[in-house]
Symmetry: C2
């Protein structure tokens, strides 16, 4: 283990082997993760028989031709969204982003999580319209071609389902890969028209204070949103990661509401009804509302609070013996930028500050990394996010005390992975 | 045109109708791009017959089911890479990113440009090896599984083929969509292992100064690179836009050399031979070398100089009458951050500073936008990038004076689009 690290390199900054976050930047550092040529092949779990690594078949023949639109390698076919959840009626359910298979902060659009109530409509953009009406001076109807001519802006933003991670409310810790537990969150570069431009063009009545946004799926999903937020930073999203929005994410247009729960980012947006009161729709009364221990209910809990998650190591992965590892994960906050992520290897007794990958952007995934000298003994890994408002991600018992046992939405407690002596990783409450 | 803009909003900052870049941020601004409901449908070129926009068929039936890995809408099937170039022998050619169809700065991986000499090898990651040898203390061989355990970093970076835009050297201006002229450049979030970590582990001999990088395609493409650059900021790329590198971009590993010409970013990387001199390979002698007017030749011209391009409006698109438009484009520099992009509507007589979309990152695409009140008369649009070193993108005649008529690589002159009175856009030298 870490035999070639000089002892002065290993600056412990917290218990359980957590090292200073600048460790990997040190010039001349030798990690001994790679072996020399002779020792290496013995390590392969299933040594290839058909191919000689020194002389593989593909260097002897012309490869595949050019493609108009590319796809991942056939060797990555296991990296897919995990389809699950409540699939009755047909078209109602979720698919999870496999966060533990990804790196960086962009979620490729093919793997962006889905939450539909009535399936994915196949919308012809030449037919689709966006209508703004209600308490406005001039009701307006926009074609998609119209919208494409408006001034745009781009932002890297996460979108997270209000119900993400809700297995955390269970009495027993769920055992699943990180993405199939916390993967109803994804991050993309969204480009679109600032909604304030369109609302101003319609001329909002001073009496207006809410907007009912409606999608063009079979259920005409609708939610009520405060006008102030929509005027502040919402946009009509037309592009996702450079290309037009994907069908399962709202093609041809999606309402983008930075930092707010997924359902407010209405897909297949067709109507914005400007009003002076919320509509009290099904999705803000029967759903997305929670009873608190006090007997009161939380409603219109739009902002997704700060949260973080260690994606590597995580359940389903395996440690390869005592050595120096890089702990990797994601943090995000609906309230602004992530200001700090701390990691613990002793279940929260001591914490070390992780390195944040720049650029750190508001209401966007932030990738964190931290070096860890694992000694091969049982360990408890946690991460804890703090955002620029000073909000700190809570421990699970604190969240439950505040929110009670009836919780279903907005679970953002600190997650704990137990690393066993044999290198397996499991989810624990600790 | 722009009838609802108050005259005080239209702050001219350059000739030909260029407006102050902050125009679109003004609250209450009415652009009159959208029409009211009654007038709008008449504008549709081909009014839909089968579907009523107010009551389309898709709101009456459950949509499509969940998918493991998504794809763009069937209505976007025209947004593909433009395959072309020298396709003899088979597997030798290019495919162009359709830059004029995209927004923001991320190029979706399915549309990242391709340049292959011998097709796309289908590499089994369990077989593939990376070898570091030559002037090192310990020759090392890495499996992909090994590399995935190393510390990583992520960067948003453009990669541009050294031959991009080389139709600009032609005597007559080529008439093609912007992407089929300048689209051998794309931008992605790359995540990988800093190469300095691996080289330090091998223990580089003090006599070493060059590294020969070799790919695992049928031609074993190789190039010589200064050791200093590889130690500075190169990485072994494992992830592209969050997921594992795409086959046509080097799966399972690609050498990432920020800001340097595409060919140095060796795909399917299999070997790094540390030496004390360049290998003078085919791709740095017969190719990627240019005769100058002085009779000397340019070689090892690694850095891609600052460049910019207006993607909208651009050839193949059409203006829709006198109105306020948003000029949109991309700028990038291999030397660092873009510090300024100016646009001109009068062929370069006067210039206005465009708005740069944050985050502005080093050696990465920067999106620029600028409002333009087109009066319906003939206009000449240009953009001009300046980077943080102070380098300014040159006019075409300046570039040709410096580099002569034998140029083939590194064409980065200012591009001029002519807007005709009928709204068509063409490429001109002006």
């Amino acid at each position: 283990m870490a035999g070639k690290l000089a002892s002065e390199d290993l600056i412990a900054v917290a218990g359980g082997g957590l090292l200073h976050r600048r460790l990997f930047l040190k010039a001349g550092l030798v990690l001994a993760t790679a072996q020399t040529a002779t020792s290496l092949r013995a390590e392969e779990a299933s040594p290839p028989k058909a191919e000689d690594p020194a002389d593989p078949s593909w260097i002897h023949k012309t490869g595949l031709p050019f493609t108009g639109y590319g796809a991942p390698s056939k060797y990555e076919k296991h990296v897919v969204r995990n389809i699950g959840g409540n699939r009755t009626p047909q078209g109602d359910g979720v698919s999870w982003t496999p966060l533990e298979e990804l790196e960086g902060i962009v979620t490729p659009s093919g793997l962006h999580f889905e939450r539909h109530h009535d399936g994915v409509p196949e919308i012809d953009p030449a037919v689709h319209r966006l209508v703004i009406h209600g308490l406005v001076q001039r009701p307006l109807e926009f074609t998609v071609a119209n919208l494409l001519r408006y001034p745009m802006r781009s932002r890297f933003l996460f979108i997270e389902c209000g119900g993400n991670s809700n297995a955390g409310w269970h009495e027993e810790p769920i055992q699943r890969p990180a993405g199939a537990f916390h993967g109803l969150v994804s991050c993309a570069e969204w480009t679109g028209v600032p909604l304030s431009l369109l609302l101003n063009e319609a001329g909002v009545d001073p009496k207006a204070s809410w907007v009912i946004a409606e999608g063009a799926d079979a259920g005409l999903l609708n939610v009520s949103l405060p006008l102030s937020k929509l005027m502040d930073d919402a946009m009509v999203g037309l592009y996702q990661n450079g290309e037009r929005v994907r069908p399962e994410n709202g093609y041809p247009i999606r309402l983008i509401v930075p930092g707010w729960e997924g359902i407010t980012n209405v897909k297949w947006l067709r109507r914005l009804h400007v009003t002076d009161a919320p509509a009290m729709t099904r999705n803000e009364t029967a759903k997305y509302t929670e009873l608190l221990p006090s007997g009161k209910a939380r409603m219109f809990t739009f902002v997704m609070d700060a949260k973080s998650l260690i994606t590597s190591p995580s359940p389903g992965q395996k440690m390869h013996g005592a050595n120096v590892y890089e702990i990797r994960g994601l943090a995000w906050s609906g309230s602004g930028k992530i200001s700090k992520v701390e990691v613990s290897a002793d279940g929260g007794k001591s914490w070390a500050e992780a390195e944040l990958q720049d650029p750190v952007m508001s209401q966007c995934f932030t990738r964190f990394r931290s070096p860890w000298a694992w000694d091969g003994k049982a360990a408890l890994l946690k991460s804890r996010a703090t955002d620029e408002t000073g909000y700190v991600q809570p421990e699970r018992d604190v969240l439950i005390k505040e929110r009670g046992r009836e919780g279903y939405f907005h679970y953002n407690a600190i997650v704990c992975w137990a690393v066993d002596e044999d290198g397996t990783i499991s989810h624990v409450y600790a």
